[in-house]
Amino acid sequence: MHELIDTMFVSAFSNPFLAERNDSAVFEIHGGRLAMTTDSYVVDPIFFPGGDIGSLAVHGTVNDLAMRGARPLYITAGFILEEGLACADLEKIVMSMAEAAREAGVLVIAGDTKVVPRGKADKLFINTSGIGIVPPGVDVGGQNARPGDIVLINGTIGDHGMAVLCRREGLAFENEIKSDAAALNGLVGSMLDAFAGIHVLRDPTRGGVATTLNEIAEQSGVGIRLFEETLPIREDVLGACELLGLDPLYVANEGKVLAIVPELGADAVLSAMKSHAFGRASCRIGEIVSDNPGRVFLRTRIGGHRLVDMLRGEQLPRIC
C-alpha cells in the first residue's frame, strides 16, 4: 500500500502538501491555516461491537483533521450503495453518522449518493472529506519528532481491529471485545491547551501502532524505542491475539492517538489526557532516539531488543 501510494499517487499529483504524507494537508488561505482530508470506508461487517461504518466514517475524518492539531468544522459525505441494501440498515447508519457528527461538533454540509448493481459494491461504501482550522502557534506533523521526545498513547491498543475481526469471523470470547472508535478532536484540543508545542499526533489505524510509528520515524528521520512492559493491551484483546497468532502492535485502532511530545511538556500533556474521558488509561510507551533513524525498536520484557517493522501486506493468523 505504501509503495502504491508513493509510486502512483504522490508522483502523479506531485506537490509539497501531499509529499508530507500527513493525515491531512495544512494550507494557508488569507492568513488563516486550514486542514483538509478525505477518507473512504469499506469496513466489513458494517455493524460491529462499539460502532458501525457510519460513525466510523465521521470519526475517521474528524480524527485525521485533529491529528494536525486542527479544530474540525465541516465534513462532506459520499455514499455508494449496493442495490438491495436494506433501507432500515441505511437509516441506522445515517442516524449513527448524524449522532457522531453532533458529538464531534461538526456539520455534514454536502453529500452525494450513487446506487450500483448488486455485487458491484459490498452493501455500502462511504467517503467523507473534512475541513478544519489550525489554531495559531500549533505545528503538528509527522516530520516533527526530535530525539529526546516522549511517545504517549491515550489507552489500550488493538481494540477496534480485534472487535471487527471477531465479529467478521464469528469468533466468540467470554466478553465481547468492543471497538474503541471515537472522535478525538475534544481530547486533542485539551492536549494542545495543556501544551501547544506537541510535535506529532497520529491515529494508529490500519497497520496499528507499529506501522504508524515506522511512518513517523521515516518522516522525521529519527529512531523510536518502545518499552514492551509499558504497552497497554486489554486482557481479552491480548488473549484473542495470542490465540490467533497476531501481534497487537499491528492491529488497527480507531479511537487512539499517538502523541510525540518534547520531554518538558510530556507531564502536562499526559495529565490533560488522563483527565479526558477518552484518555483515562493514557501512558508513556517509548521515546525518540537519534540512533537507527527510520526504524522502530522494542525493548522486550526480558531485556532484549528487537526491530518492530512496518506491516507488510495483511497480518494472517498462524496455523498452529
Binding site: 526480558i302 528487537r306 501486506g313 494472517l316 493468523p317 496455523i319
Partner: protein, 362 residues
Amino acid sequence: MKYLDEYRDPVLAKSLIERLRRKAFPREVRLMEICGTHTVAIFRSGMRQLLPPQIKLISGPGCPVCVTASEDIDRAIWLAQQPGVITTTFGDLVRVPGSSSSLHIERSKGADVRIVYATLDALRIARDNPDRQVVFIGIGFETTAPTVAAAIQQASKLDVNNFSVFSAHKLLPPAMRALLEAREVNLDGFICPGHVSTIIGAGAYRQVADNYRVPCVITGFEPLDILQGICLLIDQVQSGRAEVENQYRRAVSWEGNSTARKLLEEIFEPADSTWRGIGIIPKSGLAFRPHWKKFDATDRFSMPEITVKEHPGCRCGEVLRGVMIPPECGLFRKVCSPQDPKGPCMVSAEGTCGAYYRYGER
C-alpha cells in the same frame, strides 16, 4: 493475564539468563528448535542477544507452510484453477509462490480461494454450497491434522459429498531422525515443539534421544519456558546425558492426546512424504486409509503430472535443514522480502527468513 504473565516475569527471566551466563562453555552448543512458533517467540523476546555467545539457536523445519513441497503447492494451485472449485486453506499458504503462480494470484484472477481459521469452517462452506466442490488444503503437523480428521469424520456423518481434503500433512519425529541421519548439521539438542507434543506426547521423542544420543526437551512458548528449556538442555549436554525432558508439563503429558491420535489413525496412515529442502522422508506424511479415500482430493480430481520450477537462488531448503541462516542467502533482503517473497520461509509468519527480516536479526 493468567498463564501468561507468570511465564513472562522479567526478574525470573534475568535470573535464568544469569544462570546460563555463569556456566563455562568449553565449546559451542548447538540447539535446534523445530517449531515455527518457537522461532517467532525467540525472536520476539530478543532472547538471542542475551544468551552466552556459545549457545547457538538454530531454526529447523518447524514451519508447516515452509516444509510443504513445491509440487504440493503447485497441486493446490491446480486445484484452485478448476472450474467451480472453492479452495479453502489456512492464511499463510495463499502467498507461497509455486512454479508459476500462487493461490493469492489465482484469487486475484477470479479463483474462489478462501482463508479459514478451522477445518470445520471449510466443511461449513461445503454445506452452504452444495453445488460446488470444496477442497481443504491440509498442511501442518500432528497438531492440526487431528482437526482435519475430525472434519472428515463429520463430513461422512453428515453425508457431505462435495467436501474433500488435499493432505500434505507432515509428522515431525521422522524429520528429526532424517536430519540426524544426514549428519549435515551437528546438533547438541532439540527444543521440541510444545503444540505438536500435546498430541504425540513426550514419549514420542524417546527414540531420538536413545538412538542418536541427542537430548530432547519439550518446551512451552513463553520466554521463561524457552529459557528453562535451554537450561535443561545445557545441563544434559554438560553432564553427558541424552534424555527426554518435559518442561511444558502444564500442556504435555508423556502419552499425549490419545483421543486425537486415535481419530488421526482412523482416517490416515503414515506414508512417505516429500519435504521442501529435505526430500522424501519415509513414513513422514499422512495418506488416506482406503475406507476414507472418497474424501481424498487427489482421488476426486485427476491431477496432472507436476514439474516443479523453483526460484534458482532460493535457499529455503538449506535454511530448513539448519545448515544456512537467512542472511547468508543471496536473495535475502535484496530481492526476497515479505512484500515479494521468493520462497516460503519468507512468506510465513513462522518462517525463519521472515523472522530474521521482521525482527531485524543480523
